[in-house]
Amino acid sequence: MTVENHIPEDELQGFVDGRLGVERVKALETHVKGCLECQRSLETIRQIDGALHGMALERTSAAFTVSVLQRLALSSAKRRTSFFANAASLFASLIVLAVLLSVFIWTGVIDTTQIAGAQLLGSEVIAKGGQAVSESVSWLESWLRTYFSFAFGKGSLQVSVSVVVVAMVLALVDHAARRRLSQKIR
């Protein structure tokens, strides 16, 4: 029998994989029974195929699953920390802005009558808003006068120092909050 008459390798492989149609399987089985060459080729394919299917799986390290879960917990805690840190920073920034605004109003850099003058713009909403802003600013001004009286009327240096001190206190509070959260994560 010549090589050309032998069953091609892809067909023998298809037979081993069980991918051939019934007719083709019958024809192949008949040929293989009478052909030593094809019998040996089929046996080789089966042997290597069997060994490949039986190959042992590679094992991960013992702490693999724990490491994955730790990484997941860490990344979700980081997301939470980042949210709280952003919220704390925003809150601190708003307070600093309010303090600065009050100081500027008190020192005369910003004229509150201009803000109250918004009432003259005609719209009732704007007028009410302007009035609320004006009232808030007045309240902040009186609050600052009560608690930070030492900083008022004694020159801009003391005003600036007061603002810096307030900002530093807020920054420290923010830093402490971040540290506490990162300790919690660990």
Binding site: S41, E43, A51, E58, R59, V68
Partner: protein, 190 residues
């Protein structure tokens, strides 16, 4: 298997992070096997499998359950491995010539030597020779035998057409058989 994975995924989506550990346990060794075959070193393979599990968790809301979880997950893993392989500019020893120049006789001449080899020895030879295959053959061979995936599933994981998968798998198996037979007869001569 798929139903059980879907049940676990439902619990994870319900907020039970610990159940993701169960999912990891179910797939980690097969994932490790694929990663090790593709990237080559144990440390790198473990790292890439971990990264893939983390990525799978982050994207779990995108898994719709149309395919098996393993198919979806191996696509993530396969892409991560390929990124590493390409970054390293994997220097493959091409077996293209071996495959094209060899007819069926190349296998037939050496086939009887297989009878003399022990199973453990065969496993070592197979592992070595799979590692030496070019990555385009190594991938379908590993997915087919280790992950027991169908042509269609391999196509889904690799993003290649089914025809390409069939061709690469055939050529990979053919090359592997030749290499194994050559190696075994060489071992027997020693």
């Amino acid at each position: 298997m798929n139903d059980e994975d879907l049940e676990i995924i439902g619990e994870i989506r319900g907020g039970n992070l610990r159940r993701f550990g169960t999912l990891v346990d179910r797939h980690k060794d097969r994932a490790m096997t694929l990663a090790l075959r593709l990237v080559g070193t144990r440390e790198e393979a473990e790292e890439v499998v971990q990264d893939s599990f983390v990525k799978a968790y982050d994207n779990l809301h995108k898994f719709r359950g149309d395919s098996r979880f393993s198919t979806w997950f191996y696509r993530i893993l396969y892409n991560a491995c390929m990124t590493r392989v390409q970054r390293r500019k994997d220097r493959e020893v091409s077996v293209e010539g071996d495959i094209q120049n060899s007819g069926p006789m190349a296998v037939r001449d050496k086939r009887d030597v297989l009878l003399d080899i022990e199973e453990r020895e065969m496993q070592t030879i197979l592992r070595d020779e799979i590692a030496r295959l070019p990555v385009r053959f190594r991938t379908p061979v590993t997915l087919f035998y280790v992950q027991e995936m169908s042509y269609e599933e391999i196509s889904e994981v690799t993003g290649q057409p089914v025809g390409t998968v069939k061709t690469n798998l055939f050529r990979g198996r053919h090359a592997l058989r030749q290499r194994v037979l050559a190696r075994v007869s060489e071992e027997n001569r020693k």
